[in-house]
Symmetry: D2
Subunit: 260 residues, 4 copies
């Protein structure tokens, strides 16, 4: 048995573009152990990528690529009916582009987490999931893949022999079947920092979370995503860190990598 | 003395984009020893890059990245007043993106040749040249850099300790001082295939070329660029290959690389 | 009764982009009475738009906007899950941009035909169809809308009081229910110029076409689309023009407009 | 003599893009009489344009197009060596796109102000200035053109018979020759709200401003630009409005237009 509980906290960062900034990276970066860095298709121009990799390296964070459908104006949040071949090539391109900044900075690329609509599609569509996994396998079979528990993406990543990390969300309400409550419903987001923090601690220690109907649901995550773009997100992230520390849980990336 | 004369022939390829094709790759690829593959900023989407790397790998060609200013509509032919930092990041991004397809295909990335206006600017502007060289050094100090003879780019690449290859042009008229005749002048391009082929052979064997005023000019190139986008380019490329073979000159890339 | 049969022939043109040309406009423009000009979202940069409007004006063609999802790399052929509001704004933007070149050239903008995946989606999805119609109504209620017979788009355009033109295809096989045979099936395209020409004449004179199972299907089109991007398209277009002339059918745009 | 002094205050707005917001429009819009709305080339996607036109219409502001070089990642702040023909077509495209939203909203398009590097280039380069003016003349000879006092752009606009408005800046230090102090120098920006407000009042009433060396310089502006993107900009804008009101100066757009 593990003498000390550990959990990975991740955040989507580097989502500025040119003159457009998002503003939350500075506050979030010191609170997480892993980051998913935008690669230019939904956000993140080359200079933003270089700077974000440098900041993450400074803080010793595990760095991952955050590839998207090519949709800057839609921030990668819209499904695009791309072919599996297009998806594989788009993901390879973005992984390589981010890996160049990791290499230039002397830090390893550790994982890949699809962004937005591509992530959501890969959770339920096998062809999309396999297209992403093909790209990862072609690039580097030691890259971890982040995916929702129970998703096509998680299952196919494991079948391909890739390190696969189940990702859960700190601030999202859960249905009795373990899926996320749709963001279109009013109670999809949990805003209270103390409540969010308490749920996270229970997820880590007891693999359990209270669903929206009050029942207890089993949940097993290898990494917990902290959203940066929601109001109050930084306050919630701080509350989570404090609660984890108070519970003696170490925040650390699970997938240490040698340098590229 | 070298028992056998050798020369590298290179071409800019992979310059299709989405539904838009250029059409000359198929004819040019079998005639060259090195290719410079567009990386998405002036041409070349991820799928085109993947396919072009695969074709070049099949023919055992030395593969290079062909980074550009971000200007798809201008095909990278317009100067953009980018900062050195922007240029370094843009070039790193494009090298990494192409390297991902090389890695997926199991072939090495061998060199970098800036495209269009970026190449022309780097020939004469030290800050631009250094920005490109910084990107190459940060990525891989074994990557060769292609640059015009006598240019800032060539000199700074050598000073940085990078393998540097002087690039000359098969079909361009030359001024008495060794520079290229401006494309805005009527006689800038030499169209006759036999004349072009004869000039190339003389460049390789005697390091000499007849300038536009009839004088002989010394010229030393490590690689000769064959244009693909001009009328009659493929006929000229074939004439060059035949003339080189007749003269006993081997066409081969100078910079063999182990796999990435 | 009309003493003389008339039909409109339309083609999608101006689908070059920057250095990338398509090559078929020159041959197709003299063969049609209406053109749908790309507006920059799937093809057609501002200079291409200006030149294409000038060419169409020279030939006295009816000019229409050909708006698309924003997807240059996918040539507008991929469904994007855009909201109706996004679609309305994207279409308005593109109509306005093309109208500027019409205005600069002194010719009217006559119609709007959605491109590719947007057209296909609007044929079957009411929200998409209404979003396009909203854009047209907001811009100019005298603009005609091209749409497939029996589509949501055609019906909603008529309900909105817009001039609506049913568009049929010269070179596509037809199912017994009047819909197009999917391009994924082997016999979707009819390649023989004489056969295509004969079908077009029968569509115009007898509102009838032979379906893929040999049955006769009623078909009523106000305009017939000639594809430019298929092999042999120009030969088919010429055969159609000759057959129409031989049958005494006038080729003319139905929607004469005063200048903008 | 005019019984009542008037001045136009303008601001660059609508410079959000997709998920990226700028944040200052809400505060600035009620403080100005004219707005220059981004048209998609440096900022401003179709939805942002639609919303910004609606907000400006609500406040009865004079609406202008704010066209740029095509450079989203560089926010239009980098010179691009575009040909005059490319500039004319790019500007026409952007004017038309914005005009569509004006037309849809039922308000007139009143003026054109080039953005960033295009504005700066047009101030000193006649070919660029003429290319912009050609676009405006082709579109609508009643559109006003904003340009710096003494610039090529202002002179050529007047020679073309266009309504031309000399634009001065509220918060920029002035050289003894009337030009702006370069932003690369430390004292280029005047930050103190009261000082800025006092300078503006003196510009309007006495056509005079204190240059950086303490001398008085004559300055005649038809419109004063309030920057939105600088720290403290909104506070300065409010101070200017109060000082103008206290001095009995009316803030109003000079170029009332009938509807398009």
């Amino acid at each position: 048995m593990d003498p000390q509980q550990r959990i990975d906290l991740n955040a989507d960062v580097g989502e500025a573009f040119g003159n457009f900034s998002t503003g939350w990276d500075e506050a979030l970066l010191p609170l997480v152990s892993s980051v998913n860095i935008a690669c230019g298709f939904h956000a993140g121009d080359p200079r933003v990528m270089q700077q974000t990799v440098a900041q993450a390296a400074e803080l010793n964070l595990a760095i991952g690529a955050h590839p998207s459908y090519p949709d800057l104006v839609g921030f990668g949040r819209r499904f695009i009916d791309a072919t599996p071949d297009e998806i594989t090539c788009d993901v390879l391109y973005q992984i390589g582009a981010l890996a160049a900044f990791c290499r230039a900075t002397g830090v390893p690329l550790c994982h890949v987490k699809a962004h937005g609509a591509l992530y959501n599609r890969a959770a339920v569509d096998e062809a999309t999931a396999q297209a992403i996994i093909d790209a990862v396998c072609l690039y580097d079979r030691e890259l971890a893949v982040l995916a929702p528990p129970g998703s096509s993406l998680l299952r196919l990543a494991r079948e391909a022999g890739l390190p696969a990390l189940a990702e859960v969300f700190a601030d999202r309400a859960i249905n009795p079947d373990g899926t996320l409550v749709s963001r279109r419903l009013p109670d999809a987001m949990i805003e209270n920092p103390d409540l969010v923090a308490e749920r996270v601690v229970r997820m880590v220690l007891h693999h359990s979370v209270t669903a929206i109907d009050g029942t207890e649901v089993e949940i097993r995550g290898d990494t917990i995503c902290l959203h940066g773009d929601a109001h109050g997100a930084v306050a919630r992230a701080r509350a989570i860190r404090e609660a984890l520390a108070a519970a003696g849980i170490v925040v650390a990336a699970p997938h240490a990598r040698r340098n590229a």
